[in-house]
Symmetry: C2
Subunit: 328 residues, 2 copies
């Protein structure tokens, strides 16, 4: 039946919502809802297009009490940069949770995903990082390297950032951007072990298939957020490091064991029969988080449909009259 549907572009979305503490709080509530056990979040639909070196993921979740639910489509086509296009794109669709009618189409080219992913990093840092963080490190130099550090700075206002990447040019560009955005001291380092050693908060944002952080680099007063792994076979943190930490937390256990750090750990025979806590359980206090300043904590983010539903319903509330109404 014909009804009004709001079509919103990336520019309009960028004007409406950004990476701030309000967005972090929105995503934190999604994690709290996940811990309630009442969220319906089916396994990710994933399709590979090998001929085009592409893949597409579809995520969704229904959160009781939310007016709407999002379906988020994330294509990744990794030959796109050769023709001047970004690898990642996509859109989110917001449906009424009462009637299933399409309410809005957010043509965000992945912007809302970037936001909700970075905000999850801030939620992890808020609940797990040491209170005192003077130096933060990031391994990776892409969009999420910038956003994760910006998000973490909202909850742990550190004075120094260390950046490591395989490509020195990209690392320098990432460092320059972070310096400009945050006004903090930023240093590029070619030594990831030194980066970890000097930091109290480290974020990994790589598509690595071999660990970029080794177990013997860990030290007291450290939190690591690993957000790069999101497909089977990816692995950023050495399995022994998960075991060596005082606390290893998943955004969603069922996802981390197939596409996160838990996958490699289980393959190495670790965490057999052990169910790590989820970030939402730390947020709600259902399970303990960091117990002392000296603790080593690791949080594994694979990205959840609950975050998509949370950001999409939030954006819909604050959009005002932005966008184009289509009567369809």
């Amino acid at each position: 039946m014909a009804h009004d549907i709001r079509i919103v572009t990336e520019d309009q979305l960028r004007a409406a919502v950004g990476l701030d503490l309000t967005t972090v709080d929105v995503i934190e509530r999604a994690f709290a809802a996940l811990a309630s056990g009442k969220v319906v979040m089916p396994p990710i639909l994933s399709m590979e297009l090998a001929e085009a070196n592409g893949e597409v993921d579809v995520k969704t979740a229904y959160i009781p009490g939310f007016d709407g639910f999002a379906i988020k489509v994330s294509p990744g086509f990794f030959d796109n940069p050769k023709i001047g296009l970004p690898s990642l794109n996509g859109l989110m669709i917001l449906f009424s949770a009462r009637t299933g009618l399409v309410e809005a189409v957010f043509l965000d080219n992945g912007y809302l995903t970037d936001l909700r992913t970075a905000a999850a990093g801030a939620v992890a840092a808020r609940h797990l990082a040491p209170e005192e963080v003077t130096t933060a490190g990031v391994i990776g130099t892409g969009v999420q390297a910038r956003l994760q550090i910006e998000a973490a700075h909202l909850v742990r206002p550190f004075a120094r950032v260390l950046v490591h990447g395989r490509d020195p040019g990209k690392a320098a560009a990432c460092a320059a951007d972070l310096q400009a955005r945050l006004g903090v001291e930023v240093e590029v380092t070619t030594d990831p072990a030194a980066l970890v050693r000097r930091s109290q908060l480290v974020v990994t944002t790589t598509p690595a298939r071999e660990p970029v952080i080794e177990a013997d680099w860990l030290h007291p007063e450290l939190h690591i957020t690993a957000m790069g792994s999101d497909q089977a076979g990816k692995n950023e943190i050495a399995p022994q490091a998960l075991l060596a930490a005082d606390l290893y937390v998943c955004d969603r256990v069922s996802q981390c064991e197939v596409s996160g750090e838990l996958e490699a750990a289980r393959a190495a025979g670790l965490f057999a029969g052990v169910t790590p806590p989820e970030l939402g359980e730390i947020v709600t206090g259902a399970k303990p988080g960091r117990r002392s300043p000296a603790d080593i904590t690791i949080c594994d983010l694979t990205g959840t449909g609950a975050q998509d539903t949370a950001i999409a319903t939030h954006v819909a509330r604050i959009l005002g009259s932005a966008g184009t109404i289509i009567h369809a």
Copy 2:
């Protein structure tokens, strides 16, 4: 990266594409592609929203050689009629198969799904029904009851239609619509056994959870297309009837065994270790179809993402300048 995306409404889509032999041929090619083994078609993403008596399904498929792939979202909210809204809605999104960029959003409220579903019925009838069909029967009185009969008539121009439904008023309305659309003799019957006995082609379009066709109703020179079952627990054809038929064909075995007629048959201990042929294999001639006029054939349609990709890429080709271009 900002690019042009075409937003197309249901009205614009209805003006561009209808149920005709061109559409049937488009869907037939999707089935042929499925039989090639090169189509990538992940399992359906399905989410239940129990509080709202709703569910949502997401289907997709990549067909080699096709410029684009569709992601189709089908919400079904079964309390909607109480507030004057249809139960079924949704949209299709067309992506470039080379870059993953969103090319078009078809705000079709389920129209393209209706079309491609009816067209699959015509493909099944074209390849499996007896050459001579003078009477066609339909059990069910909804949108698909009308469209399936209309589609079958394109390939088997029968002179008489029998309609059976639990609600006499709905059956009469369905019969009147079919009479007006096809100009054939249409009769309502309260006796589904007589309907099957008198027909050479029968379509079932119900959400039944108990069989609406029994095995001992089958007779020589009969084809049945069962298109209603699309969720676990649904069942239109008595399991023994599948076995009694000379040929039982699935649109996709992996779907029929979880959400089609094969589910109930397997639960009854039938077809253990047996893989029925798929419709695409009949289309391409890889496996035999009907062997004689006297054969009894049954085709089980659950609906495939390949059909969605086929109808969406077809519509995109013929749309011309219809729709609204959004630069996003």
